[in-house]
């Protein structure tokens, strides 16, 4: 499926959208398409990304944010995020903040549809004391019925739609990813509808040669989009590195509101799709980011295949 069609068909105004990827695997190609299609009123949920939420906030697509951290990785501020929270530009968004472990446990609870998970993190922090749109449903601190000690209950966050970049997927959506996975496996499994953006669409036989690598089964996936370089300017292990120059450019370009608008005009609205964006980055720059191979000994899933005459019911 094309990205254009996948976003049009599956992302509806007002949806709670999980943005997968823990720095790597962030779906920037999909995010730009969401901005191009001027989606509105979304809740963006991203555990530990970089400028994904920044761009969606600045473009006015989000009304609510769920996150643990939003910053340019340089480390420089995410300017649109700052402008929004400090000054309400382009409009106020409500923010619900967690620690990485707490939010990952929330995604975990969402992926399994558990009522909640009890944890010892987060208590004492002002992250636990402050809640916005989730209100009383953000968390509860109770006394353990086992031993009376205080326990922080983290309920699931339900996502209408999840989007994530992966190294490879087959055409029915069985998706394989590796590297720094962070919250991604649980996050992407907590979504009612899933769009998988893959560096490469492979035959199901490739998936079946290493089924332990599959992070989500195909039947949970509604669309598979082949989108090489889809995580640029972030990275995908074994494919390409972070583009620090681009982050540096983004930092300077978006420091002012005008600059941010011009960035969108040039790099998002001004390109038709990801292939134009990639062309704009340029072959020389991309070549410099390409990963050098570091591949492992393949593991073996074999069995002996003989007829087992001693097994008869």
């Amino acid at each position: 499926m094309t990205m254009d069609k996948a976003i049009k068909e599956f992302v509806r105004d007002g949806d709670v959208v999980y943005l997968g990827g823990f720095i790597q695997h962030e779906p920037y190609a999909a995010i730009h398409e969401i901005i191009r299609q001027r989606k509105k009123g979304l809740t963006g949920s991203s555990c530990a990304g970089m400028i994904a939420l920044d761009q969606l906030i600045g473009a006015g697509c989000l009304d609510r944010v769920i996150t643990t951290y939003t910053w340019n990785p340089l480390p420089k501020p995410a300017h649109a995020f700052r402008r929004c929270l400090e000054k309400g530009i382009p409009h106020d968004v409500k923010i619900e903040e967690y620690s990485i472990l707490a939010l990952t446990l929330s995604y975990f609870a969402g992926a399994l549809d558990l009522p909640f998970v009890g944890t010892k993190t987060l208590m004492g922090s002002d992250l636990a004391k402050n809640s916005s749109f989730l209100g009383e449903n953000k968390l509860k601190v109770i006394e353990s019925p086992f031993n009376g000690e205080k326990v922080c209950l983290i309920p699931p966050i339900k996502h209408d739609i999840g989007i994530m970049q992966v190294q490879r997927a087959d055409s029915i959506g069985n998706a394989q990813a590796w590297g720094v996975m962070g919250d991604s496996k649980y996050g992407i499994n907590s979504c009612s509808t899933v769009i998988i953006c893959a560096e490469e669409i492979v035959d199901t036989e490739v998936i079946k040669r290493d089924p332990g690598r599959t992070i989500i089964p195909g039947f949970k996936v509604s669309a598979v989009v082949e989108e090489p370089w889809g995580s640029h300017p972030s990275y995908v292990t074994g494919c390409y590195d972070m583009d620090w120059k681009y982050f540096s450019f983004y930092d300077k370009a978006t420091e002012s509101l005008d600059g941010f608008e011009n960035y969108l005009k040039e790099w998002v609205y001004g390109v038709k799709d990801r292939s134009e964006y990639i062309k704009k980055i340029g072959k020389k720059n991309l070549d410099a980011l390409k990963a050098k191979p570091w591949s492992g000994n393949p593991v073996d899933y074999g069995y002996c295949a003989q007829y087992q005459e001693d097994y008869v019911l």
């Binding site: 087959d170 029915i172 069985n174 998936i207 089924p211 599959t214 089964p217 087992q308 019911l313």
Partner: protein, 269 residues
């Protein structure tokens, strides 16, 4: 399409089970009869079903040989996802994806509760069985549980000695009152005598369908309580010759599941 006249009651049960499956469904599948039943369905009318096993297995194709149990080594090189129990029992079953959960059963009672733990007193049983495995999870969580077992009267007490796998507990709303989710629970019990379903209010098991060679009287004798009979009770179509051929020659060519049952053709029942 020609109906078979040479099939066993086990084969009838398998084919009746397979007929419950619609193409494209997500199934979570226990060991024994459920394995062969779901693979048969995938080979015939439901090629696009997804088959999940409790140890962390998702299959989209039929393994090279029929798995001897849900952790058979032959599964590894045929699955599209192979990892933890949390991947299947957690992120698939607890998350509510399966359309049907297929279970084997040792004992099933009036409200579809299953016992695979023990006969007699739990603390000092007369006969100790293996235990739950994932069966209790299937029964606790799945939207529609189908249990498959050979029909012997001693397997159908009015009340099981031990509820390993919750069905409708004591009927009416007792399942929901125990904390289990509404819209989950037993959908059918399929045996070598017929298909039994559950009344939507009382949640009591009733005779829905019996097999071509059978009778209502014979079926009723298979239960230790006076089981109700649907006023629309049906007689199942026999398997077709082609279904029996596929089952015997393609799904279980070495007779690992069927060898001991081929000896009892329907003509002798």
């Amino acid at each position: 399409m020609k109906y078979s006249t040479d099939y066993s009651s086990i084969e009838m049960m398998i084919i009746a089970g397979a007929r419950e499956i619609e193409n494209g469904q997500i199934l979570i599948v226990g060991t024994q009869w459920p394995i062969i039943t779901t693979l048969f369905a995938k080979r015939t009318h439901a090629p696009d079903i997804t088959i999940c096993y409790e140890g962390g297995v998702v299959l989209e194709s039929i393994p090279d040989r029929i798995p001897l149990f849900t952790g058979d080594p032959c599964i590894a090189s045929n699955s599209v996802l192979l990892n933890d129990s949390l991947d299947t029992l957690g992120m698939i079953l607890h998350a509510g994806y399966p359309d049907i959960a297929f279970l084997p059963g040792a004992n099933v009672d009036r409200y579809g509760n299953i016992n695979t733990t023990c006969f007699g007193d739990y603390s000092r049983p007369k006969f100790r069985l293996g235990g739950s495995g994932g069966a209790c999870d299937f029964g606790s969580l799945a939207k529609r549980v189908i249990t498959m077992l050979e029909h012997e009267r001693q397997r159908f007490p009015e009340r099981v000695d031990f509820i390993t796998t919750p069905g409708y507990l004591n009927g009416l709303n007792s399942r929901e009152e125990a904390g289990l989710r509404p819209g989950t629970g037993p959908g059918a019990v399929i045996t070598t005598l017929g298909i039994f379903r559950f009344h939507e209010d009382t949640r009591e098991m009733y005779v829905d369908t019996y097999y071509p060679w059978g009778s209502i009287e014979e079926v009723k004798k298979g239960f230790q309580w006076d089981i109700k009979v649907s006023k629309d009770v049906k007689v199942a179509d026999p398997p077709t010759e082609e279904e029996i051929r596929i089952l015997r020659d393609e799904i279980d060519p070495f007779g690992m599941y069927l060898k001991n049952n081929k000896a009892k053709p329907i003509s002798t029942l």
